[in-house]
Point group: C2
Chain length 198, copies 2
DNA sequence: GTCTATAGTCCGATAGAC
DNA sequence: GTCTATCGGACTATAGAC
């Protein structure tokens, strides 16, 4: 039908993951990825602003999922639980394909440049969640910290999940991590009403 | 006396900050920085692995400060407070020069590539703190989460501090942020002794 | 210190979809 | 005709190799 094979973007993503696994991120040029995907290097850079971005193309969708889950969470839920609702919604999407997540995580962990990009995406997720919480009327500082805490629970829970050979549900790991986060702050010492910790 | 002016590294750092402020990070080449610092481009790359790194040369020292503070914290302190001790020790160092921190923060915020690097340094700080906590016998998950929480308190408190024209002590802002973080987790619901939150 | 590969940008040209 | 996706070539800066 057309001059081009469809789904150039998907082919580039798959080619990149394969090549990064085979010979590593730095040993793979943008041209290599393009070649294997059957496009030119120039086309690669029109789809992805830089070489790293090819592994992070789904991140806008993740942000939308978080924002929507926070928007539609029950009104009476405490802010931190609202934020956790957001990241658990993301977990539900990733749940299905542990193999892909694990493979991708291994590639990212192996390269500092990719870790940097991942951290930027997580930071952007924190910002998205903060905004969604504030839209619910949560005060700015609480919103920011609840978002940070939820993303930490996601990040740490996800890291444990992908490291496992025969894992439970990702949502379970995240809930466990959130429980451990809550347990960090001993209620007995300083959470008595009105007392200001220094 | 010698063929070279002393403190080439310091001159490059200052030249970089000036140029990044004047014309922005991307509009400044490594050669520009080297030239203003009176060295060759080659010398620049011998001191800094990449262009961004010139703004992050103090990060190893920060890591050592955190690790040492955690190592020497009172034995009976809860893990999260030990971790907070670490980041407060860093605050004491930055305390003196609000102007420099604010200027640097503005440069970093203005450029995604620099934000990425900053996030990587913060992640590495989390790892350092986690290691130091584990060396005290804290279990791995608690150590990781306490480190994350402390660095979040630092990060958010620092961001508020640099944004202020006539700020209080950075340590105060961080303590406030930590208190707000603690307040996120309502004690009433699930922190009763022996009860396991799900 | 020189040389080189790669990343990433800018310009324009082209070919199909609508 | 308009919109969008591809391709080609030239170009600079980064960063590493020699």
């Amino acid at each position: 039908m057309s001059r081009w094979q469809p789904d150039a973007r998907g082919r580039m993503v798959r080619a990149a993951m394969d090549l990064f696994t085979e010979r590593g991120f730095e040993q793979t040029t943008a041209g290599d990825i393009a070649e294997r995907a059957g496009v030119t290097e120039r086309t690669f850079f029109r789809h992805f602003t830089d070489k790293r971005e090819v592994l992070f193309s789904g991140s806008e969708a993740v942000g939308r999922t978080v924002a929507e889950a926070i928007r539609s969470a029950p009104a009476d839920l405490p802010p931190v639980d609202v934020a956790l609702t957001g990241v658990v919604a993301v977990a539900r999407v990733l749940e299905d394909d542990h193999g892909h997540s694990a493979r991708r995580a291994r590639i990212v962990e192996a390269n500092p440049a990719l870790r940097e990009r991942e951290l930027l995406k997580l930071a952007s997720l924190v910002e998205t969640a903060t905004g969604a919480l504030r839209a619910r009327g949560v005060d700015p500082l609480t919103a920011d910290l609840a978002a940070h805490s939820a993303v930490t629970a996601f990040q740490v829970g996800f890291a444990r999940w992908v490291a496992e050979a025969d894992p439970p549900a990702l949502g379970t790991r995240i809930a466990e991590t959130a429980a451990a986060l809550r347990a960090l702050w001993p209620a007995a010492e300083s959470a008595a009403p009105g007392r200001q910790p220094r």
